[in-house]
């Protein structure tokens, strides 16, 4: 180790700023060794340290009486009654997925599952939130194909159902796709495992796959913008092995059923470095590691490489004294490596030795507590004007509906979710395609509802309203299947935080999310931040993706979006003024109109109404008064109704109420806080709506014939609509490389009977 002057810096600071480097020197009292510099670099990367976002994340509400463990552990934990806990988190794998879509997405799924089973939970459901570039961008098709195959390839093999998700397309994602994966697990509330090291002298045990040279500095890569050479970063992407993960889950859960484990932590970003630093840091203790004992895939790896490798499917645990044999026996059964690689110490230091030589000797506490935290300059996103309805072209509603339902953002996602095993484990009560997925909790009558949501175009237009809307829509989607929303995980995807306008988007989104979480009693229990989603100065539409979890005390009472019975009344819950600003109607159908050149204010979220309307809907479902329910979101009322018709294979016959705004605004406005219900008898619902001051309007009836009728005119037949809705994505994905998507759509139409 060099003992030269403090101000002398190496040429390559591995992503640290000069100031951060100097801070590391001050902590050590000397220049860092190569291994130590690598450790500082990953621990203080944006990805691991949250240095730009921490200040703002702290303002989010994280408490409720059902929260067992909020942010800070591997995943959030909530109480779901009967001594059971749901453990969940969402995490991004954006940068690796863009570089290598299959492996990037696959290892994203693997990583988030480890975060959940690390805490003692069996993963019971996976979800995702995906955003891709413009369909006409030549790379988009390849990314969609690779990411979907990667998510399926990993989750299907491990045997955790992928029960839902969301997918958007927008040109701002051309250079940075977003792949956010979420896992929900189930544990006994009194058998939750944490990561704080304890018991000096206890063994530090490495289990799982062997360590190789893959993914070295992956966390650093994910903390920088892309440039034109981003393809060259492929070696920083790890390769997943879902088979090993499956064995690791079974082995860990088997070991967790004994009393051998003191603490456990998965090796995710920054591998052995972050897992050992976090365990030691949380326990206020030291850890000494002997690199020679780490199971390695290849020979000649240096301490630096071993500490920074992001090889997948590995865990670190602290065992009680004398219980090593219990672990060895279980891991031998599954033919996984299990090795004592160090011990817990009282020194408060991370000491890494190789061949008896000290490669790193660094105090843990200052590395964690003195990690950089920035109050980055930020600029409030300018307020947008409200789009007045009379400026928006009127399009014949049947034609508008068909075009919207076959647009990239509203067409059927069947092509995607049929590649995911959404049924394994045998508890999937609501499959993909509805408002929220519902899985039964084995051995009980309870169910968990899960959804992922965000509307990036709203967030871009107004970060505060967009952040609020993402939380509210998630709450609404859980409500629409009859669940009580309990808590969220957030996955904050933004551009370069060093730019004040991007930081302003982040700050605004957090403010909106905070307001919604407080109003809806819907705290944040875990999350992840992905910044620098930018290529050559072009930032993504900001996407604070929300993963929501809710509880159904009686899962048999859940309702889906599909109409069930002809003759049922169709009821609109909630009111709106017909808000077309930032709507899909304007974006998809008014492209050549002057209004398309302006970013308009998105629909406001009235949290009081949200809570009141949702409460009414949930009570109606709970009271078994409702046969189908759907929230109104992208595309507005007519799209919601069409989705209910398609899912139920039944038509509808509705009338425009007398006092509505302009008809196109009524049909396609994206006003928030609204639902469509179907009910055999509307009277009890109307009566309770009246009692609590909720606007409820009977629009018409579910129709036996397969047509969608508005004011006595058939808009379109169900089969024509189905062809348009189901056709776009398969046609796009099977088209020749480079073929613009508009051509695909036309070609597909030409094949219609």
């Amino acid at each position: 180790m060099s003992e030269t002057g403090v101000m002398e810096r190496p040429n390559d600071l591995m992503g640290l700023t000069p100031e951060e480097y100097d801070r590391a020197v001050k902590i050590l009292g000397r220049q860092p060794s190569l291994t130590e510099l690598g450790i500082f670099s990953v621990m203080w990367s944006e990805h691991c340290s949250y240095k730009s976002s921490k200040k703002w994340l702290k303002t989010l509400p994280t408490q409720a009486k059902w929260v067992i463990c909020g942010p800070g552990e591997n995943a959030g934990v909530i109480d779901i009654g009967d001594g059971q806990a749901a453990i969940f988190k969402m995490e991004s794998h954006n940068h690796p997925s863009f570089i290598e879509p299959y492996q990037g997405a696959a290892t994203g799924v693997g990583g988030i599952m480890r975060d959940v089973f690390t805490m003692g939970a069996r993963p019971i459901a996976n979800m995702n939130a995906l955003r891709f570039g413009d369909p006409s961008n030549p790379k988009t098709r390849q990314l969609v194909a690779g990411v979907v195959a990667g998510i399926g390839g990993y989750g299907n093999c491990v045997g955790v159902p992928t029960v839902g998700g969301e997918t958007n397309f927008d040109a701002s994602y051309n250079g940075n796709c977003l792949v956010n994966a979420m896992t929900v697990g189930l544990a006994d509330a009194n058998r939750i495992f944490y990561s704080a090291a304890a018991g000096p002298g206890n063994s530090v045990v490495y289990v799982g796959a062997k360590t190789g040279r893959d993914g070295i500095h992956g966390a650093t890569m994910a903390s920088a913008e892309f440039d034109e050479d981003s393809e060259e970063k492929r070696p920083t992407v790890q390769v997943g092995d879902p088979f090993t993960e499956k064995l690791l889950i079974e082995a860990c859960l088997e070991l967790m059923a004994t009393d051998a484990i003191v603490a456990i932590q998965d090796m995710g970003a920054a591998g052995l470095t972050s897992s050992s630093v976090e365990m030691a840091g949380k326990g206020g203790l030291g850890i000494e590691l002997d690199i020679d004992k780490v199971p390695m895939r290849e020979s000649g790896m240096s301490a630096y490489e071993v500490m920074l490798s992001e090889s997948q499917e590995r865990m670190l645990m602290i065992l009680k004294p004398g219980r090593e044999d219990v672990a060895m026996k279980i891991f031998a059964k599954y033919e996984l490596d299990c090795a004592v690689i160090g011990k817990v110490t009282t020194t408060g230091k991370l000491v890494v030795k190789k061949n008896g030589k000290v490669e790193a000797d660094m105090p843990v506490e200052p590395m964690v507590t003195q990690s950089p935290e920035y109050d980055r300059p930020w600029m409030k996103t300018p307020a947008r004007a409200k789009l007045s309805t009379d400026k928006v072209p009127v399009i014949e509603p049947g034609k508008a509906l068909e075009a919207l339902m076959s647009s990239p953002d509203l067409c059927s996602r069947r092509w995607i979710w049929e590649q995911y095993d959404h049924l394994v484990r045998g508890h999937t009560v609501q499959r993909p395609g509805g408002d929220a997925a519902v899985v039964r909790i084995p051995g009980t009558s309870k169910g968990l509802a899960i959804t992922t949501d965000c509307t990036p175009r709203y967030v871009y237009a107004d970060p505060e309203v967009g952040g609020m809307q993402a939380v509210a829509e998630s709450w609404r989607n859980l409500t629409a299947v009859g669940a009580k929303p309990l808590a969220i995980t957030d996955n904050m995807n933004f551009g370069n935080p060093e730019r004040p306008e991007i930081m302003g988007q982040f700050v605004g989104s957090i403010a909106g999310m905070r307001a919604a979480c407080i109003a809806l009693d819907y705290p944040v229990v875990s999350g992840n931040v992905s910044l620098y989603n930018e290529t050559q100065g072009q930032a993504i539409l900001p996407a604070p993706a929300i993963g929501g979890v809710g509880l159904l005390p009686d899962v048999a009472k859940t309702v889906g979006i599909g109409f069930r019975r002809a003759g049922d009344a169709i009821i609109l819950i909630g009111e709106g003024e017909g808000w077309l600003g930032a709507s899909l109607y304007v974006r998809e159908l008014c492209k050549s109109d002057p209004i398309a050149q302006t970013v308009w204010a998105p629909p406001p979220v009235e949290l009081g109404w949200e809570k009141r309307n949702g409460g009414l809907v949930r009570a109606a479902i709970e009271g078994e008064l409702v046969s189908a329910c759907h929230d109104i979101s992208d595309g507005g009322l007519l799209v919601a109704l069409a989705e209910m018709a398609l899912a139920g294979k039944l038509g509808f016959d509705i009338k425009t109420p007398d006092e509505v705004p302009a008809p196109h605004a009524f049909l396609f406005g994206e006003d928030q806080g609204r639902y469509v219900l179907a009910a055999a008898d509307p009277q009890p619902i109307l009566a309770s709506a009246h009692a609590v001051g909720v606007t409820a309007t009977v629009l018409g009836k579910v129709a036996p014939q397969g047509s969608l009728t508005l004011d006595g005119r058939v808009l379109i037949s169900l089969e024509e609509l189905r062809t348009a809705h189901e056709g776009w994505l398969p046609a796009y994905m099977s088209a020749q490389k480079g073929l613009p998507y508009a051509d695909v759509r036309r070609r597909d139409r030409a094949h219609d009977p």
């Binding site: 299907n156 491990v158 508890h427 899962v555 048999a556």
Partner: protein, 230 residues
């Protein structure tokens, strides 16, 4: 009745099928680890569950077919013990030589998870006796390699001897190319061995045994087994 579900490294639908058996019989089957070499003597139904044994590495089912327990499974098959392999279990039975043919990658080259319609080809077996010949069942598939392949002579022999158990069909029971979800030869979704005590099938009847989950069309198969092996 005592049934045993063989668990290979990478099996992932062992609990699904164990639960379906429990729904039909009131009893959870034994879970037998693939390294065991013998089954308890009173086991009268052997189940090879779905999943990704050995991660589907090398070839689906190829490594699991050589697991220690498989010698015992073969002995039981010869002795006439009913054996059912679903999805990966079917692939393992083919690789182990207990059933003819092989499962190739789906014609679409993609994983497929969806409900399909299945035509019961014969009610003349201990597995299908609760159905009527020609009955159409709605049962999910979830696989990447379900494209059944065998040479024409083998296929003819299977047809002649009534060894085809199920075929992919449309909702009306028509066996069409459009209804063939994975490109299987002659739409074959499941087959018996010559003595009809071994059934391999790609679809998952165990995921169609609970009204809450959308279909109970798979229950007949488990009810039949409960009856036969009682």
């Amino acid at each position: 009745m005592k049934s045993a579900v063989i668990v290979f490294p990478g099996s992932n639908r062992e609990q699904d099928i164990a639960d379906a058996i429990e729904r039909a019989t009131g009893k959870q089957p034994l879970h037998i680890w693939h390294r065991d070499t013998e089954l308890p003597s009173d086991v009268d139904l052997v189940v090879l569950p779905g999943g990704f044994s050995y991660g589907d590495y090398l070839r689906t089912g190829a490594i699991a077919a050589r697991s220690p327990i498989m010698s015992e499974v073969k002995r039981r098959a010869e002795r006439g013990t009913p054996i059912i392999g679903v999805c990966n279990g079917f692939q393992i039975l083919c690789e182990a030589g207990l059933l003819p043919g092989v499962l190739l990658m789906n014609a679409s080259l993609k994983f497929i998870c969806r409900n399909v319609s299945l035509k019961v080809e014969t009610s003349q077996s201990l597995f299908t006796q609760r159905y009527f010949t020609g009955q159409v069942l709605s049962v999910p598939v979830a696989h990447h390699e379900g494209n059944y392949f065998a040479d024409p002579t083998t296929l003819d022999r299977l047809e002649d001897r009534g060894q085809v158990a199920f075929r992919y069909c449309d909702e009306q029971g028509n066996v069409t190319a459009a209804a063939n979800c994975n490109g299987s030869a002659r739409n074959i979704a499941g087959i018996f061995n010559a003595t009809k005590n071994v059934l391999g099938m790609m679809p998952h009847p165990e995921n169609a045994t609970d009204p809450l989950l959308g279909s109970t069309d798979g229950s007949g198969l488990f009810a039949a087994l409960a009856e036969v092996v009682a």
